[in-house]
């Protein structure tokens, strides 16, 4: 089980969290003006990084906040203290 550092509550067990996918995938400001390819990228394309991955977690069964974290997907180790609100 992963121990995940919630930036509000500190290190907590994975059971309290829900994974929320790659970080920094911003919803286009004006979706109607977004082309098909750009919209497809927003909907479906993710880096699926093998290595250090910027991702979102939600401390769903804790403080309920979403936050960003860096995790190495080849070791599942989080970069310590790099969780950001």
């Amino acid at each position: 089980m992963l121990i995940i550092n919630c930036p509000y509550c500190g290190p907590r067990p994975e059971l309290e969290f829900s994974y929320a996918g790659q970080a920094h995938v911003a919803r286009p400001a004006d979706p109607s003006a977004t082309g098909d390819d750009e919209w497809t990228a927003y909907l479906y394309l993710r880096t699926n990084t093998r290595g250090v991955h910027a991702e979102r977690w939600r401390h769903a069964r804790g403080c309920a906040r979403f936050f960003n974290a860096l995790r190495d997907t080849t070791t599942d180790r989080f970069r310590r203290d790099l969780s950001e609100r």
Binding site: C9, R61, C63
Partner: protein, 181 residues
């Protein structure tokens, strides 16, 4: 109260160490940081600013559940006065106050085995160093979400959504039964 006769609280198994739920007044307060300080004036106690800590004064308590979420606890039957008092204190602030008195029930666990019983199905370490008196948090117990608060060294109070309360109480009793058998 006129409604007491028709009220039917969730019936849970009890034990020497397991307190049946008592009705209470409960609110979820959410809002911008400024609202927290103002709400303290209306509620009559300073709302905790530290993560995962509870503040108490007399029979009222405020539990930090998240940076923008507090659970306010008071004796049963105070929904209207507290709502009114908070509305006055919070005038001009951006916030949300929602009555959740019946959404969840409180379960009390106390005694020397309380910590051990809870830890059996809760992934958090509940020893006094990691979970000191005054700490509170949302977490899980078995497959249920709970709020756990430690008002005293050998006393825990759980706040559980009502339809999960039977599960939590029965699971606690099962752990107890198996461990002393």
């Amino acid at each position: 109260m006129a409604d007491a006769t028709i009220r039917r609280i969730v019936g849970l198994p009890t034990a020497a160490w397991l307190e049946s739920p008592l009705p209470a007044t409960r609110f979820i307060l959410r809002g911008a940081p400024g609202a927290r300080a103002a709400a303290g004036e209306g509620f009559g106690l300073s709302l905790p600013e530290t993560a995962c800590r509870a503040a108490t004064d007399g029979n009222r308590a405020a539990l930090w559940l998240g940076p923008d979420e507090q659970l306010l606890l008071a004796p049963d039957g105070e929904v209207e006065p507290i709502a009114a008092s908070l509305a006055r204190a919070l005038q001009g602030h951006a916030y949300s106050l929602v009555d959740v008195s019946h959404r969840q029930v409180g379960i009390g666990i106390h005694g020397p085995r309380a910590e051990w019983l809870l830890e059996s199905q809760c992934p958090l370490p509940l020893n006094l160093r990691d979970f000191p008196v005054g700490m509170c948090t949302r977490t899980v117990f078995g497959k249920a979400e709970i709020v756990v608060w430690r008002p005293a060294e050998q006393v825990f109070r759980l706040e559980v959504w009502r339809s999960f309360a039977t599960y939590v109480a029965e699971l606690l009793r099962e752990v107890d039964r198996e461990s002393i058998a």
